[in-house]
Symmetry: C5
Subunit: 292 residues, 5 copies
């Protein structure tokens, strides 16, 4: 993730970062420009279609549909952004919980109890990095898929690592409680943080393994495809060869929105804008070590 300066216009208008949609769309924009040129050539030079051709009015279709496609794409991007932001919130909670648990156990455990302090400190730090690794694995993404994935079968054998760590952590806390090193009241106030580890893990898994419904996504792709493909026919009449940049620009705007949505809706992938979970996990490890 890049902590860019949002007020820097020049840089982001004229500079094409590697996650910029223009880079990814470049071949397609060239293709649709050539297509528009071809349509213009045929309609204007070859067929010499007259003013009264019905094709001229095809832009009625684009006008009637422009509100639907605009709203769909803006909502699509917003829904993807909300998933991304929810994932960021979850990792923020992981930071808070790790900190709070460390602060509390630092106060509760006896000053000389270096053994338990370092054990628990390591567990907390390990949980975050194990979760980061778990969420980037292909097996997590396909967990609920309706097809069998024999290629992932060996992974399936393995147990769920973050769960294991959470279980070890709770086990240790409970052992300390039984030994009287933690009182009942202290156990109760530690509960919230202990709970939240599994809750955060579950919520991240949900975002990872549940894309938006396939029928919705497939419909949107078909809609953009047909809408864009019909644009040259509709605009060449009114704009002549000027239609080439116009079609290219409209196509760039519409598909960029869909591309951005696809990039951010799975925040645990390897895209440029995905969450820096390994970096956050390293921060957690550092902060917990500072405290405990």
């Amino acid at each position: 993730m890049i902590a860019y300066n949002t007020k820097d216009w020049l840089k982001y208008i004229f500079f094409f970062h590697k996650s910029d949609t223009i880079r990814k769309l470049f071949p397609l924009i060239i293709t649709i420009s050539l297509l528009t040129w071809g349509v213009a050539y045929i309609e204007l030079e070859y067929l010499r279609l007259t003013e009264t051709s019905n094709l001229r009015n095809l832009n009625i279709m684009h006008t009637l549909l422009s509100v639907v496609i605009s709203m769909l794409l803006v909502f699509r991007t917003n829904t993807a952004y909300e998933r991304w932001w929810e994932a960021r919130k979850l990792w923020g909670s992981l930071v808070n919980n790790s900190r709070n648990l460390a602060i509390k156990l630092h106060a509760i455990l006896h000053e000389d109890d270096a053994h338990n302090r370092s054990f628990i400190g390591q567990c907390i730090g390990l949980y975050a990095s194990a979760l980061a690794t778990h969420l980037h694995s292909e097996a997590s993404r396909l967990e609920l898929d309706e097809y069998e994935h024999p290629e992932l079968a060996s992974l399936d054998e393995q147990k769920h690592i973050p769960n294991q760590i959470a279980a070890i952590l709770f086990n240790r806390i409970n052992k300390l409680y039984k030994e009287g090193k933690i009182t009942g009241d202290q156990l109760i106030i530690l509960n919230g943080e202990l709970l939240s580890f599994a809750e955060i893990c579950g919520a991240c898994e949900r975002i990872k393994n549940t894309p938006i419904p396939l029928s919705y996504s497939a419909f949107l792709k078909k809609f953009i495809f047909i809408y864009s493909l019909a644009l040259p026919f509709s605009l060449v009449f009114s704009l002549g060869y000027l239609a080439i940049p116009v079609v290219a620009f409209i196509f760039y705007v519409l598909t960029s929105l869909e591309l951005i949505a696809e990039e951010i809706e799975d925040p645990f992938g390897a895209d440029e804008n995905d969450l820096p979970t390994h970096k956050i996990a390293a921060n957690i490890k550092k902060q917990v070590a500072e405290i405990l």
Copy 2:
């Protein structure tokens, strides 16, 4: 549910998955295309309506209403998506709670207490699958219907299975508390998970048995129907026979949105995109068995 790759455009533009709206709409799209052809034939070849015919201006109506119908349908799909996503969250919570309860009881119960461990482990696993079955039943969908359903009467006799399991589970926990195997402090920290089972069940039942208000849904269907039926009359003048694919495409876009909404607003049905509750329940069973 299908864990598809959202970045795969070619596949979802040219491939028609069985949940694709084009498949379901195919007969209707053919029908409205034929209708448009008929209207075009009569207006252009038979009646030879002149340029000055008032019918020419009918697209004023479609223009004035295009914002309303677009917004209504996009909001409709979003509301349906939110129901679907809420249901996914609830089942995510069920996973978390089941895990947490297993992790806690694993630590709290005596290592040798295989009897209680396996009993509780089975209860937790059973709850998820009982809930999945309960939510797919017709009786759950019709629970609040204002009409009598004599055909479901025999089912009504049965008690509410998930409730029964939750009661058995709480009973056992409380018994362990009375026997001193669980301390008061431990009982308090188990409370959150025990509570949440019934809360998740209730929230899923709400989504299942409460569709959007009938008057809203009926209005939307009538609106789409009349709007689409008037399209050929409005577009044939400007587009001639070209109106046939245009009407078909607009019709496809509008009704697809409504169809997608209908498919996902009840996430516990048997549609392609419905939640894989039985699969999640199986995962819960497996994970709980791993832990306890």
Copy 3:
């Protein structure tokens, strides 16, 4: 409430349920059709206004305002739907809490303590039906009105029934705690459910006694009224007598949205789509009796 099948198109396009907005709007649609006929007759046959009349361009106004009126109405309906859905959630919580309280007390109370079991079971069941009755009363709706309501004075004398039942219930629980039949830890885990009764009641009262601000609602009605009244003048020029069905249809769409909003924004009334609170209360009573 009707648990209709949302995928049944034919039935809801051609069948007019008693809550259908077409039924309610029928007289108004006839009126505005006659008005449009009158305007058409006067403009076209009597005044024979020429093409250059400024009235011809009146549809600029409708075009400029079509986005505002569309968004306002769609947001209006959505806000009303959210109130309705919030109310549904609250009654869902009431179901969950009642169940959970019953499950817990079933486990906590001694098996032979039939007296307390039945007393508490009745209280829980009674609360739901008392709340349903309370929310349907006119006094609840007018609680915060700035005018005096002498006609409701006698009701005001009465105490708040759901509050009374909640107080009796908490009293009994506290008595059992003092008698040692409920331990302190158990009292703590019962607290959440006991709290929530009054919270649900308060939230439902808020929805009941606080309509959307009067100035907003009055503005919307005036806006729809003037917009619709100007439609015939604007459309008769372009559409001639064809304007009659067009105006009727646009009027039907716009006012339907407002009518639906009005129907569902108070979910505790006697409208067709209002929540079946008495039915839910009966379900609660049945389920609690099953458990305790």
Copy 4:
């Protein structure tokens, strides 16, 4: 606040309540009508601008901007409504908490302990009315202003009244706990309600002292002003003197939305639609007295 009947159309179309935006906007509507008349007179009778004047096409600007201004105003009104509704929810919570605290203490305190009962009952009732007064004061609104307010200096000396009452209340509860009149378990279950008083107060203060950012509000006012002022120039060509009512109506719609937003975004003022906090406080006092 007025508990009006939302289904009463006639009354709210033809009756102008004192909070109706038409009343407030009347002078401005007259002004803009006169301005439009002036523009029409000059353009049509004096300058006799020809059909080919560029002014004719000024409505392109209004068309391009109509979506932005519509969305901005509708979102503005919705944001204001959400503030108003959040404030309503907070006062609803105050009612619930006051009730619950009274119900609990009624059960916990000894029946004969009239002294503590009446003391606590009075505190709860007093808190609500002190908060209502606090929120209506000018000092609360300007608390975070970046300018000094010497005219409010004397008020600043005073301590924060609701805080004082909350402190007294908690002090008494804690004293009862120390005296053994409230057990530790009971103290824990009273904590939620005691906490919430300060939370509600803080949230209401936030709504009161934080308007939407100045740059946003100032931009919106400038936008509406210029957009409306350009309307006569744009519409007189197409509509002639008919532009007078059209401009007046469009102006009425746009500014009404902003006016309604301004009225409801501070729900603790003295506007017609502001929340009846003193009335709610009186209800709380009455209900608490009934219970304790």
Copy 5:
């Protein structure tokens, strides 16, 4: 932050506050006006393009894209506003928690225990101001950046100040618990407030160090830039020199929305509309000192 009067129209239409977008945009508005003049001069006086030039129809592009750009910008501003409002809520919670903690400890600690009272009072006050300072630092903004920041390395050495204070505070509370000055029940009811400090800190850090995804922001800037640059070419034909103010106004509206979003999306900067965190911290210090 300025606690302005939202109903004061005249002042905010004709007065240009230093955070007004017109001030910031002034040079750009002049530039685009000159550009439009140049385009008008060349097209009209030099090239004398005829009516039939295809450039005339370029406004089709602006019409088709006007909905997308409007929705994107309005959603952008709303998302930024939600971040700003969330930050305001977090600081509101900090106020509430500080107050509540002070009220509770005031009651719990022995009246003569001036030492602990003042120590804890200072900690609470210090936390708020340390957090304010922490959030304004450049190191916080760049915490998750993927590039190295050697210039901030010395800061990185320092420990996390707010965390340190929270740890000291919890340490003291736990020490008082061990010494028996705070009972177990009291420890439990203090837990919520102690937790929330780190939660508020983490949530503010999230808002500070996570801007909206770069690809989204870069796309939006490119979109606005190209859209605006094409406006003169599209409008000069229809409007002649009148296009100069029209282009300037449309440009002002669109870029203002983006500028406002940029200003408020990081609420912890030094912009005019950023949150007065130091002022709130001072209020907390004052109120806590009043109570303890």
